[in-house]
Symmetry: D2
Subunit: 363 residues, 4 copies
């Protein structure tokens, strides 16, 4: 057993040197080794205006062409201060595919969703199933499923990509493979999974789908919007107003093991109350005009804007009077929940509303 | 340790008498105590023709009135040879409610479903939620939920009741309670659960519904029939043709812990292959004309007929050429599955088709 | 729509006759068709004294021999008033196998457990695994597993059989098959499953056992009794005193989908409080002397006695002062739970103790 | 729709500048944005010899004292090239508590395990339950449970700490709280959870433990080692020899949602075959002498050494002839599994054995 000596000058430094050389690190060294009372994430809230983004999307359309050199023509939402990712777990991007173009077939362990912004007549093919893309549609390309996008129409298509790449990279679990051809063969009927599972509360009687991800790959806007309107008749959340989660019909859970997809209608003039969660979220404004208050900062948004809410950030949303807004979002709630780390807290003061201390005016 | 003697004459009988007096029973006594190679259920296949049943339903309407003395004006499908129940686990019945009538509010641990045959404008109220009833709709009244039926319309309503009463009685687990009033108070919006969960693959983002039974209480015919048509484009079962199971959107499983509900479209001219299951089923012919072959006996059916398939009975279905048929059924599959007793076997001979050895001609 | 006529004399009877001929049954007919407020099971509490039973067990040993004619030499506990079964879902019996005898190999969909009363040196073989039998051991033979019993020792062995036969018969799901030989081949090490899963909270790292039933087939008495003593140091139930449930190490649930196995130590002088459950139970007195009060009737029991508690019967247990008692029981709780029918109620009056209105003195 | 122009010189650079200023990032830029065929983790295999580490542990004991300034006296295993953590998800450390010392009570969302190396007579207290620590014991302090360590004995104690801190930090979900006193009050019996759940396949009949983490907090060495010896009689994995996973008795799954704990006995002279997994592992040599081959590099280890296996690294293990070895490890398998990212691959060539291309000789 050690005898406690007085520590001689320099002895501690010498110890630290020796220890470091052995690839050990004293647990008591350094400020950042301690844990803080609650999360202070690097990620800050941010908003991208469509007015700024759109010209660059088209400009990219002029300058580069997807194919074997450029896998995808995308502009990623690169949150300030983050080395990569829109949040620490998710990466969102805007993809443009011009008439006649193909975004070649590949697969990877990161999971992706597409939410269509503009244009129709294009297809995403997932594991042999063609999903026609139309504004407001959600299409899933789960982990390790072959997928390609092809625009055989007369109009360009723009969509939001949402991936869990930062998470999967952080877990050192990225696998990637190119399909030998630009397009995979179409082996199923168009919208095969929608024809089987699209009704949601009815399923082919003889199928026992795996529950790892949703057997339904295509959630059409018409159904989504109808569901929002129906829910609006009957109930709303104090924090998210009329909010629906897209679910996996095979188990009622989130559509994907790493990302939840949500859509919420904020009724005209409604201002929700604030809460915070250990999850992060990327929002896309499907329609309307309004604002979110995130950690006391007001972000005004309009149709086609994007914004990001960091973990453990207070946030509340509002629609302009007379203006119904719809927000789509991807959220990493399933990751936090699966690992026992999901928490949520309600803002108690001031009727649930944060004091607005600043307005976001750009980068 | 016993020494094996020669058993003296009468000694065994004396032993049996003594043993019986002690409320013991030798395991080796009696033929029927042994187990047989496979099930030979008491229940036999049977069919009720609407042409026979309907006049009696109306006649019942003339003679008795639901209320506190007659809880429900129903005619039960009493399979020949069965003491009670349409099958050994389920009881089906035809219920008539005339304009102005109320089937009073009560609750019980047996679970019920309603499938509407004729008439609209009536309501079933379940736990404060009014479900408007229309032909082809499925309405759930899960175990121990308050429910009443009220006909405030100008037309009579007839529906199929399906209950798990024989099962719950057999388990000695029947509890029953009358509501103090004829009708329970309506505390929710009409079709509250349909407004929340009707889209199936979308759910109120903030709700974590119990999975014991479906949070969706009303499955409307329009959606069901659309789903059948969509599925018909893409896939079918060799045994049941275009078959859908109604699911619990909270977990993707059966709508109720004791009864699965299925609906199947048999395309014109299709004859399915035979299989048998350890589960039993009661079928209602929603539309069309066709036949089922059950253990070699042919049962011709037409719109609004009912028939029963016993456990472990070979069965296959056919539609007339040019005639699309739709069958609704309740099946006790979830019971067998939960207890590890579900089995299914495919008929191998003769292309999967049984030889027809007789035609059902009535009781 | 029917016009409500005055019902003419005899008209109703005529209606009933017509209806019955059609295999229909008016739902409003007969008192017993209604449901009662709570269960009034046919099964009554009963107790079998070992002093009465044992001589008959040995007598049976003298008179009949297990083999191809007599599958098993068992005396079933035939509760008074029950057509079959010790309860409506479970059948308990006492089995004797003499030195040199074999209870031939077979399998069936009913599930069985064995709890050893006396004798050691015999084996039960389950799916190729030999389980040596010793007093207090619990051995599982799950649904459709090959099993045989062989006594190659010098001493007779007596055990309690517990089966879910009444339940499986009621569900018309009994399948049965004889093994071509008296004994199945032994293909695994003695107690293979105990060597793999016996530690309970440790499992072979590479195995993903099915959870339908416990991968552990043999629960040895020594471990069970130690666990009781440990639990006695720290906690007890007000209704069952120091009670343990045997669990399936693959999912922490009951050992079998249809029967839970429990063991409880009633400490000297303890009298528990009463409760009632929708489940039924058959008890075996492993050691000690005490009593149970069931629906106000006192049943005094001693080592090796058996007794039965019906569904929804108030029951409480007591040990004599200075006398530690141990009860083993099989209970159909998993059935009720899986089907959403499990309920439990606490006796509130009189400190939780029923007034004793009679003493059980025999059949 | 954009017209494809010839891209003028400098135009692309100008585009990139504009885009960057908008916090967008072209998806086609940079080599590292693409995904690689399979993981090439930053983490490399490494080994820490006890002979090197132990003197520094004692030296730390002389120089610093745990208390309010130094939360824990630990030396972390700081893998070369990693900014923090022993792997990208887990942090392992060696902790020393001297007689009379207390490692003060706190709680945090990162989860921890302790595996005792040397010394007994100390306690870890978790949520009011004292767990006595002895060599080979595993003790859990799940997420957000109060815990402190106190050494009231005459001998120092050294243990291995394993935490999921890098993972939880990466998810920005660290919460931390100090207990107001150095030690939390002891509110339960010593080893309360072991007395209730220690038998593994038996549980208090009335408890329905949460399954988020194991209700059993203390896995004693004696039981673990017995289980290894029993398993050795019957089965082994080709990759890990006689390997057990500690399980959560409430659901049969891993003990914690973020870390699996395993223990494996490598029988004398055994050399396992290689495989690789997307999970990472930190190993501690409980006893014996042997080696592991990791990505072709041979690491010789002896009692009390530590080593790390990165994700997707081929690894196989061997014991010296005549020498039984035991390895304890923490592995992040549950994280990969929960998120659908767990993969495993078997080394096919050369009888499953890698060619050894180098020997590890130190940092």
């Amino acid at each position: 057993m050690p005898v406690r000596n007085t520590v001689r000058p320099g002895e501690l430094d010498q110890f630290y040197n020796t220890v470091e050389a052995m690839h050990l690190r004293p647990g008591w060294l350094g400020r950042n080794v301690g844990m803080e009372r609650e999360p202070h994430p690097k990620l800050k809230p941010y908003l991208w205006r469509w007015a700024d983004v759109e010209p660059l999307v088209w400009k990219g359309g002029e300058m580069v062409t997807p194919g074997r050199d450029i896998e995808r023509r995308v502009l990623r939402l690169a949150s300030p201060g983050m080395e990569r990712g829109t949040t620490h777990t998710m990466s969102a991007a805007i993809q443009l595919v011009l008439p006649g173009e193909v975004a070649p077939a590949h697969r990877h362990t990161p999971t992706a969703i597409r939410f269509i912004i503009k244009g129709k007549g294009s297809f995403t093919t997932v594991e042999g199933e063609r999903c026609p893309m139309a504004p407001g549609d959600l299409i899933l390309t789960p982990s390790w499923t072959w997928h390609d996008h092809v625009n055989q129409s007369e109009e360009p298509i723009i969509w939001l990509d949402g991936l869990d790449t930062p998470l999967v990279r952080g877990l050192e679990a990225v696998f990637y493979e190119d399909f030998p051809e630009d397009q995979q063969p179409v082996t199923k009927l168009v919208d095969d999974s929608e024809l089987r599972y699209g009704a949601g509360a009815l399923k082919p009687a003889w199928e026992q789908p795996s529950t790892q991800w949703s057997p339904l790959l295509h959630y059409k806007w018409e159904r989504t919007y109808q569901a929002l309107q129906k829910l609006a008749e009957v109930a709303a959340s104090p924090f998210d107003d009329v909010a629906l989660e897209y679910t996996n019909p095979a188990n009622g859970g989130p559509v994907l093991p790493t990302m939840a997809c949500l859509v919420q209608l904020i009724r005209p003039g409604v201002r929700t109350q604030a809460h915070r969660q250990t999850s992060s979220a990327v929002y896309y404004v499907v329609r309307g005009e309004g604002y979110s208050v995130i950690n006391g900062q007001r972000f005004d948004w309009a149709k086609d804007d994007f914004f990001v809410v960091p973990p453990w950030a207070w946030h509340e949303h509002g629609s302009e009077a007379g203006e119904e807004s719809v927000l789509f979002s991807i959220q990493d709630i399933p990751v936090l929940s699966a690992l026992g780390l999901y928490r949520e807290e309600t803002y108690r003061d001031n009727g649930g509303h944060q004091a607005i201390t600043s307005h976001f005016t750009g980068g």
